[in-house]
Symmetry: C2
Subunit: 333 residues, 2 copies
């Protein structure tokens, strides 16, 4: 087990760039790094359908710099990557359905922009440490469970293919140019500041919105297993990966305490909320084609290499998430 | 072993579109399909640094249609894909070095254009059978030899990452939309009509050019093993994949009779040419970073599924190639 790193020492006074920093995970990361007195610049394009939301930095927005820009703009990015110690590269198109109806936009954001950010770093800041937010989506339908990093990569949608390419670019630039970079394959991350308007980011968002609005929420399928990472744990993994040289050139799965069936998670949500109803639905035809059945990941690699493991249970995490949206739902609709 | 298909019957009168059809493999394919009385349209952009060459269709250019267009142009492609029975999707950027110095162009051709061609097929010709020319380059440095299709995919250059994505798009569109598509992972293909001006397509091209010009050719490294497919065999594989439903949704390695060290291949070339000199060189620093050591592929999957195997030995193939360039070198400089 690697020895415990003091994150506050690691990030104090360091210059940190977060793409997608007004989004769900980026803003939670920024919130943590602000506590550590890091000098943070957030890059976000605030595209309506994506996760960016200015309310996500409410309460600490004066302690960081927000730069509205699109990662697809190579000129802005070429300037913005300069003179930073860390780049958390979290901007992405995350909707699987949108990637099928508009594959070109997905490619622009998840492939071309990634390559152009890496080229910008190569030219203007080759020592910046980059942590890329990948996704378990790239595995596709598992051959075995839990899925470790050696599992075959067989994405079942355009988003998965493009995110796979984006991850590979990062590892390539580490290997060929020595720009220190690594990738985390996030699983179902949830928590305060996630998008709840629709299911573009996570189905849990819509569940929580509906339950708070007093409406029945829909559980598609129900028996499939999934694992869930509370956002604070995901943030911890991002920071560990950033501050570890051992992570360079590597990809790591994140995961949850244990697999939950969707039904079980729905029951837990109702229990934690203290009420609410859901109904089991058939998978819609257009989603069935890209359904992957059960999925949960083996995160022993990051545990052994970086000492990461989930610390916040699904029960605690759901309770905290419900509390956040009970107070702030109107900012997310 | 699948039963032998009569290719002439399969393609007679069929409408065939070949992207990159003025290039090395595309023009050899066109030449064969012309014999079968297929109705061929070639799409090629004749970019100087790529493989397209009008001389490649010399002698049969009146028996097909040439449409100069760039696969990156979605408007032209949306029109051109209509009303064809087969699409051999061979247009690509093939230079590994160029993909590192100009990654964006590689991405435009090998990713974005592929996705837009598939979208064009989905909208305008969803029953067209597509055969995509992939590459063994996507495997990267082998974990074991020979490399079969189950081997991990770890591309070592931008070209490999983008070709990997391009292949995945094809399989995805087969699986999700039912557009029949498959991919062949070509290894070192050689023969008449290959680019010999430089090493952008294959190092064998430069070797043959130099030997005919009476100059010493350079063998980088020398001990690494490679396998070689004569272009007529590659063309046979493309046609088999096109006419087999069993190929749909699958990827197949091609390969050679047996692995050759580069030294051995150089000796064979000198023997077949009846003279010539080469020198062993150290790998240049900029290529060493992306060197993969020995590579040769296991092609038992396509042998079992489609009945393909190499039929033309390296000795025969080199002899035929030398003869071609002795007669026509000036058209390739």
């Amino acid at each position: 087990m690697p020895k415990k790193i003091n994150m506050a020492d690691q990030f104090r006074g360091k210059k940190v760039l977060i793409t997608g920093g007004l989004g769900f995970i980026g803003s939670n990361l920024a919130r943590k790094l602000v506590e550590f007195d890091a000098k943070i610049t957030i890059v976000d394009s605030l595209i309506e359908e994506y996760g960016g939301n200015l309310f996500n930095i409410d309460g600490f927005k004066d302690r960081l710099r927000v730069n509205i820009a699109d990662v697809r703009d190579p000129h802005s990015m070429a300037y913005l990557v300069r003179d930073h110690d860390y780049l958390f590269n979290l901007a992405g198109q995350t909707s699987h359905m949108d990637s099928m109806t508009d594959p070109d936009t997905d490619l622009e954001i998840n492939c071309r922009a990634q390559l152009s950010i890496l080229e910008a770093c190569r030219r203007h800041n080759p020592t910046v440490k980059i942590v890329f937010a990948g996704t378990r989506q790239i595995y596709g339908k598992p051959d075995y469970l839990p899925v470790n990093e050696a599992h075959a990569i067989r994405p079942v949608d355009v988003n998965g293919i493009n995110k796979m390419a984006g991850e590979h670019y990062h590892i390539l630039y580490n290997n060929v140019y020595g720009i220190p970079a690594c990738a985390l394959r996030l699983t179902n991350t949830y928590g305060p500041r996630m998008r709840v308007k629709d299911a573009r980011q996570t189905f849990l968002g819509v569940w929580i919105r509906r339950i708070i609005e007093g409406e029945t929420f829909e559980v598609w399928g129900g028996d499939q297993l999934r694992d869930f990472t509370y956002v604070d744990d995901a943030v911890e993994a991002l920071m560990l990966a950033a501050t570890s040289d051992e992570a360079n050139g590597r990809v790591f799965n994140l995961g949850g305490f244990r697999p939950f069936s969707l039904n079980e998670m729905a029951d837990l949500l109702v229990e934690k909320y203290g009420g609410g109803k859901y109904q089991i639905c058939e998978f819609p035809a257009d989603r069935k084609q890209i359904d992957i059945g059960s999925f949960y990941s083996d995160f022993s690699s990051i545990r052994e290499s970086l000492g990461w493991e989930p610390t916040i249970s699904e029960a605690e995490g759901l309770a905290a998430t419900i509390k956040f949206y009970q107070a702030h739902l109107k900012h997310y609709l």
